[in-house]
Amino acid sequence: MTEGHYVYAILARETSVPPGLTGIRGTALQMVAHRELRAATSAVEAIALPATVDDALTHETVVEALRQAGPALPVRFGTILADTPAVVRALAERYETLVADLVRLADTVEYGLSVLWEQLEPERTAHETAPSQSAEDPGDVSSNPGSRYLHARLAEHRRDTLRRANAEQTARDLDALLRPFALDSRWTIRPASRIAARAAYLLHQSAVEPFRQAFEEGRVLNPDLRFLLSGPWPPYSFVTAPAPGGAPIAGSGTTE
């Protein structure tokens, strides 16, 4: 049976591990060190790990317990490396970035925000409301199935454009309210009939209460919107991601 190292988090070498903390399927945590970093791992059957909700919850439990002991970078769920040398190579490959992230993300938490709206459809044109009222004029294009299709697609495009513009404005307004209390923010704007936008905010732990107060202000100011605020989470969304080719990408912005 082939075993691998399931990786939960990256810690500073001096961070102590809470006693009695176990990993997925109750396995003991093993620390793999490289220079000033350590990876918190546990042994798993490398090939046949069926991912379950309990595994996800255990992953998060381990990450949060380690963060209680000191700065720790949460690793993506399901990361399994072949053996100890592979873990060491992975730490070495991104050593400077991981060290910098440990410093940058120490004492920070992430909050998630989902914004939902009661979508009002934009005013429909006369053609859209009565496309078949064309019997009196044989030349009326609305009697042409192809033309009706194209007009319908145009109307859909206009609604999508308006919906997106509304979502972007909503995101700007809310970010103006919340951003002063945050270290970083990431917005995803893919508006649907109910979801306007989603965001992740990186906060210093000391800023959580004023951030939540600002959020409540935003809720009161936007009675036509509904909100789902979750957190605090480990800063999953704000670790530095490797770019294609290996160079790290960091920083805030809007993703779509």
Binding site: A48, L57, T79, D101, V239
Partner: protein, 72 residues
Amino acid sequence: MNERVAETRDVTLLELLDRIVDHGVVLSGDVRISVADVDLMYLGLRLILTSIERAEELGVMPPMLREGEEPR
């Protein structure tokens, strides 16, 4: 665990899955993600549908899907 706590936990679980599956430190080198992750994502999708109903009951959010509507 009472019903309301369980419903809140469902919504929280979705937020958790959204983070740990798509975000976090990426380590290269012999990374093997079990294909059984598909089961987790399927479970996640079921939880999305379930939690929407429960979240509506909680008054947290309106229904995201009407009956017969396909998820986008």
